[in-house]
Subunit: 346 residues, 2 copies
Amino acid sequence: MSLSKPTIFDVAKLAGVSIKTVSRVVNREPNVRSTTKERVEKAVAELNYRPDQSARNLASHRSHLIGLVYDDPAAYELPSSGYIIRMQQGALQGCRSTLCELLIHPCNFRRKSVVAELTTLIKETRLAGIVLAAPLSNMQKIVRAIEATKTPLVRLSPGQQQVKQLSVATNDREVTAEMTRYLAGLGHSRIAYITGDPDHKAVGNRFLGYKDGLRDSGLKFSAQLVVAGDNSFGSGERAAAKLIGRKTRPTAIIAANDDMAVGAMRTAHRLGVEVPWQLSIAGFDDITLSQQMDPPLTTVRQPLVRMAERAVLMLARNNGKDTASTAHEIVPAEIKIRESTGPAPA
Amino acid sequence: MSLSKPTIFDVAKLAGVSIKTVSRVVNREPNVRSTTKERVEKAVAELNYRPDQSARNLASHRSHLIGLVYDDPAAYELPSSGYIIRMQQGALQGCRSTLCELLIHPCNFRRKSVVAELTTLIKETRLAGIVLAAPLSNMQKIVRAIEATKTPLVRLSPGQQQVKQLSVATNDREVTAEMTRYLAGLGHSRIAYITGDPDHKAVGNRFLGYKDGLRDSGLKFSAQLVVAGDNSFGSGERAAAKLIGRKTRPTAIIAANDDMAVGAMRTAHRLGVEVPWQLSIAGFDDITLSQQMDPPLTTVRQPLVRMAERAVLMLARNNGKDTASTAHEIVPAEIKIRESTGPAPA
DNA sequence: GTGAAAGCGCTAACAC
DNA sequence: GTGTTAGCGCTTTCAC
C-alpha cells in the first residue's frame, strides 16, 4: 500500500478511463457501461480508493454529512439511552452504504434557543440532510425552521404524516392494539393504560391503539383505568401505585414505554402484588433492561435501528430527486411476549 | 445579510489587503502589523465572514473533525449504553468550545478488520484528532496503527500511561482501594471481588486497588474470594452464585463494574440473600440503573463526561503544539454510598 | 510584513 | 457513454 492517499486520477489511470467516469461510478450516477463500471470498481478496490470528503464538499457545495438530531438525554438520563444508541447505530449503517458521515446533535427542545442552534449548525456544516428524532420531529416550529433552510429532512416517528414531509415511523397504534387484544385474549377485562409524554405524538398514537384494541375485544374504555405518565421510570412507579390502589384493581397494565413499565413492576413488587399472577404488565420499546427484569417484561420491539437506517437512505434517495419513492415509510414493530404477562387471575 | 456566503476575497477587498493577509489574521499567524490586523478583523466582522471548512480542509490537508472511537455496543447491548452517551456528551462539549465537529465511530475490536477500518476512516475524513475509548485505548495494535497515520490521539482510560502518548483517565485503582477500605471500615473481613473484562486494562487497575485496600485495612488477600467476570450482567449473576455458594460466604462483594454488580444483586435476590443485611454489594460506573435498583447500588461515579471533554480539549491544545501542557490527565472519581452496602452481619 | 501564483481532489457543465 | 475544462475557497510556497 502506497503511503499517499490515492486520488481519483490514480483510479482513472489504472482503470484506463477519465476521472469523470470514476466520479460517475463512485457516485452511482447512471450512464456508465457495466463493463466500464466493473473496471473502475476493480481499480477502486485495488487502490483502496476513498473519495476525499473535503474536496467533494467544496466542489459540490454541500457536505456529505448527515445530521442526527435528537432530544438531549443529559437532561433526564433515562435508562433508555439504549434508544439513542440504537438510532445512532441504524443511522451509521445507512451512512456507510451511502458514503456519508454522521454528525450527532443532541439538543434540548425545551430551550428557547433550539431553532437558532439548529440553523447555525446547518449553515456552518452544510449538512446534506437531517434525520430528526421524536419528539422534535412532531414540533412544527422546529420542522419549519429546518425546512426554511432547504435542508432535506426526514422525520422519525413524527406521530402524524404530512404531505411533502418525509418520514419513517413504526406502527405504534396497530401494534398497541395487538398487545391489548393479546391481553384481552388472556381473559383480562380490566386492562389499564399509563400514557406517555404528551410532547411525544407517536407515543400518543399508542394510546389510540389501546382504545382500538379494547373495542376490537369487546371491552369498554374507562377513564378510571387510565393514568398519565411522562415516559419516566418514576412516573411509571407513581401511576402503578394509583392503579393498584383503585377499588377495582386492573388485572393488566400497558405502559406507553418500557421505562414506565419497569417503574410499574417496581411498584408492584414493593406492594407485594405478584407479576404476572395477580397483575400482568406490558411495555413498549424493548430496552435492554426489560429482558433482565424478574420476570422479563412483555413488550414491543421497536425497530429503531432499521428505522434510522431507512431514514438516512431516504435522505440519500431524495437527494437524487427520486420523488417517485415513498415519502412515508412504516417499519412494523413486533410484540415480544415474555413472562410479565399471563392469564387473568380468577 | 447577502445571499451568498462571503469569501476570503470579499474580506480582502473590503480590508484593502490580499487574501493571504486575511488568511494570516484568521489563522492567528504571526507577522501581521497590528493596524492591518484590526482592519481585517473589522471587515470579517462586518461581512460576518466564516472560513469555509471544506476549502480549508482541502487546502490544509486536515479537517476540524474530531473522531470519537469506541467499542461497538451493538455486539452485546449492555445496559451501560449510558456510558457511551456520557462520553459523547463530554466530547460534544469539548468540540463546542474548540469549534470542531464530532464524528462518532463505534467499532468492534474483536474483528480483524478494525485497523483497516480506522485507517480508512482517518484517510477519508482527515480527522483532526481521535479520542480513543477503552478498551481500544489499551490495545497497542490499534494505538500504533493510528499513530502511524500521524493523527493526534488521546487515549481514554488506557490502563497504563505511555510516554509520548496523551491520555485522560480516572483514578480507578485509588478509588477502588477507598471503596474496599470503606467496606472494611463497616466491619467486613471477607470482602469478595468480581473481576472485569480482561481486555480492559483500566478495569484491571480496579483489582489492584482492591488488593491495596485490603492491605491498608489489615485484611489478607484470598484467591477464594475472587471470581472472574467479563463486565456483563450475566457474568455478575454467575460470579455471585459461586461466591454465595462458598463454605465461608463473603459478607461483601465488590464488582469491577455496575452491570456485574446488578447481576450479583439479582442473584442475591433469587437466592434469598438480603442486601445489605446479609451481603453488601458495590459496583463501579454509576449507571442509571444503579439508582433504580432496590436497594440502590453503592458505586463509584466515573467522571466520564468530564474525561471525554478534557480529551477533546487536550487534542485541540496539542494541535497548537503546546507540548508544555500535561500529557496525562487524571479526573478523580467519587464514591457514591447508597443502600446496597451496610455493616457486616454479626 | 505582505502579496502572487499554484495547487488541494473533487464535481459540474458541456463537449464529443 | 465518456472525456474536457473550469472552478469550489482556501493554504502553501516563495518572491518581494
